[in-house]
């Protein structure tokens, strides 16, 4: 049976402009496409990936461009459409002053004191 995997994404906005996406969200999506049984938990900065209003401008360096800067909130929506459950650590969002109504819908908050129990449901933990 396929192993149940929890992908915890903690580090965000790393080289997202050069990549035009977040490499760990990208990897999670690619693994799901390859048949993995995956769930996603956002912690740390990465809770901000749930914010609706992320709108980076394209950048120009003379003739060179970053034409398609990333919109992680859209990537999260696509992950959910693929059937990946997306969760976020409530306290990390609160600490950063991110109101829940500023986030896209469909993401389930969990509390820090539930995390051991939450992790217990999975066979493997990838902590990025």
């Amino acid at each position: 049976m396929a192993k149940k995997i929890l992908s915890i994404v903690d580090i965000a906005y790393r080289a997202t402009l050069e990549e035009q996406d977040d490499t760990t969200l990208w990897f999670t999506a690619a693994c799901k496409n390859a048949g993995a049984d995956l769930t996603l938990l956002l912690t740390g900065n990465a809770v901000n990936y749930a914010v609706k209003d992320q709108k980076p401008r394209g950048l120009k360096f003379g003739k060179a461009e970053i034409p398609h800067p990333p919109h992680p909130q859209e990537d999260l929506k696509k992950l959910m459409e693929k059937g990946i459950g997306v969760f976020l650590l409530k306290e990390d969002a609160e600490e950063r002053g991110i109101p829940s109504d500023s986030m896209i819908t469909g993401i389930e908050p969990i509390s820090r004191n539930q995390i051991a129990k939450f992790i217990d449901q999975y066979d493997l933990i990838w902590h990025w």
Partner: protein
Amino acid sequence: MGKKLTLLIMDPPYESPNSTTALRITEAALRKGHSVNVFAYEGAVSLTFAEQKGHANPVKGTTLEQEQHPLPKEMVAGLFEMAQGDAKLNWVNCGLCVDERGVANWIPGPVRGGPGDFIKMVQESDNTVVIPTK
């Protein structure tokens, strides 16, 4: 009359937001008519590596052409094109850092150098900013 800014960068391509910010600062300074010295130390010497190439994105479902994957070498080339007249771009790749990484085949523009070149830049500049890696 343009001024002179020196930046030291040390993050490799595709690893840190520092690279993009440093290139944004360089772009803005050149556009305003200032000269910029960039000393690329450690991983940052790979920013100008000529063998970088774009790729399609199977997760987004984009082709090579649609994805227009950004290549740091092209951004640096874009900055060299902007550097006309008095607003000069002087880009030095740390030679020993280049050797150990094997990235000596770089785009036209940058030159090989070392800490002595950086010190010269620092002495003749209006400001120097070291952008460390984490």
